[in-house]
């Protein structure tokens, strides 16, 4: 389907003006915009005159709405990061983010997928390592919420695995499960924020967290280091016997495993 050139040129110009990080007026003076539509042609030749508003003012309705709308979406996804930074700093950050990662998906729930990586790379952003991990945790909650539908492994399927096959059994994780070894106690900070008691950015401290969906609700679970290692090994597809070797003698691996299964972290078992 060949598009009429004039319409395509108009749309490229309009899109540039709408998504410009400053204002519609600044956008119209940019080199890119002027290559598509000379500034002198905008009022009257491209945009019809309106006695109450200039062409720049009418275009600004779209330009202002673009950033406001997407800031609101990302504020919904990264509310804790927003509150740590403050509204103005968050808006500036989002504006830069949208320049590098404009939405290319029909669904707004994909908009923040690159946000943690973007935050991690903002060298001038104070506390960026902590904020990037906080953003990663908030994104994980969204990803778990939207993950594909699944049916957790039922207890009777586990009971059907012969005793002698347990060591070789491999498990399929449920698609919402995500595991994180954070360098900051971001889950503790996030929980305090959710309870209306936000604190200062914490000092570095390892924290191991699983994020997953169970019964249509998203759960975050802090794990002991060894339990985290066992779970990571299982998610990587290692046999149960190999995965359990990640734990040291005396640790309650059986209890951990029962917990994983009860939380619906697996959808299938392959006992060979």
């Amino acid at each position: 389907m060949t598009a009429p050139l004039e319409l395509r040129q108009l749309q490229r110009w309009f899109a540039h003006v709408v998504a410009h990080p400053k204002t519609a007026d600044a956008a119209m003076h940019s080199r890119r915009a002027k290559q598509l539509v000379p500034r002198r042609d905008v009022a009257g030749n491209v945009i019809a005159d309106n006695p109450r508003m200039s062409a720049a003012a009418m275009l600004q309705v779209y330009n202002g709405g673009y950033l406001a709308r997407l800031v609101e979406v990302l504020r919904g996804d990264f509310g804790c990061v927003h509150d740590v930074l403050g509204g103005c700093a968050f808006e500036r950050l989002v504006s830069r983010y949208l320049e590098q990662f404009p939405s290319r998906h029909p669904n707004l729930n994909q908009l923040g997928r690159h946000f943690p990586m973007f935050v991690a790379r903002r060298r001038k952003l104070p506390q960026r390592a902590f904020l990037a991990e906080l953003a990663q945790l908030e994104l994980a909650v969204q990803v778990a919420f939207d993950a594909d539908e699944f049916t957790p492994l039922e207890g009777d399927m586990l009971a059907g695995v012969p005793q002698e096959r347990w060591d070789d059994a491999r498990f399929v994780p449920n698609p919402s499960l995500q595991l994180f070894a954070f360098r900051h106690p971001v889950d503790t900070f996030y929980q305090a924020w959710r309870e209306g008691e936000p604190g200062d950015a914490p000092a570095p401290q390892r924290q191991f967290v699983a994020v997953f969906r169970k019964h249509d609700r998203v759960w975050r679970q802090r794990l002991p280091k060894a339990s985290f290692a066992v779970l990571c090994a299982l998610v990587a597809g290692r046999p149960l016997g190999v995965a359990l070797a990640e734990a040291t003698a005396g640790e309650p691996v059986g209890e951990w495993f029962q917990g994983y299964a009860a939380d619906g972290l697996f959808t299938a078992v392959d006992a060979g």
Partner: protein, 284 residues
Amino acid sequence: MTATLSSLTSTDLGIGVGLRTAHYGAILEEKPQVDFFEILSENFMHTGGRPVHVLDEVAARYRVVMHGVSMNIGSTDPLDRAYLRELKALQQRCKARWISDHICWTGVDGNNLHDLLPLPYTKAALRHLIERVNAVQDLLEQPLVLENPSTYLQFAGQDFTETQFLTELVNATGCGLLMDVNNVFVCASNHGFDAEQYLREVPWQHVVYFHLAGHSVFETHRLDTHDRPVCDEVWQLYRLANELSGGRSTMLEWDADIPSFDAVHAEARKAERFRSPRDMEAAS
């Protein structure tokens, strides 16, 4: 095609409201009497969590119609066929009576600006739109229903008024129209045309249903914000639209500063005062 336009335009589902996240709990627990729900299609695509389970429960109890914001039907980018296939699969899942979107474009060069951007009402844009609407209808195997958007500027050198453009489009494609009465009022105010005259020029035989909403008033323009009750002027236009059309299914949009479900539903039910419903389809 699995549905015909006449089957859509002759179906009066009554007065519906939008299915919004803030109301999931109230709807599932209280099971209110609602004629139909309109879902925002994209809210139930690319997600396998609670939204689709809520949708399954709602679809089992209520009639559902689909309304999207990302078809990008007016764009000069290629049609997103994967998106259209997902749209069709969603319709099959929730048994939606029809699929609607907007007469607009939302992005170009692969970017999505997530806004309903205006098309110039020119012969070239019309040809382009007709080609794409036909392609979408072939893929969806049903008439597409398209909404008149709120706009904040008009392009110079247009060949048609909006109603002329809509008429040419529906005559060439057989698509349906979603007549947003609030958008008519907002555009009439912003661009200085007569809203009642606009309604008298609408090709009513193609109109499938109505939208109602509230909007914000600024010094220089009105903005379609869906964040407040419907204003009196829009109710009066809605009365005229009902007289001219003979009555159509009607849906209230409330998408920001959303009050309780009961408050939204009560606002929607005000439409009863202004409409003379045709033989309504019995609720399933």
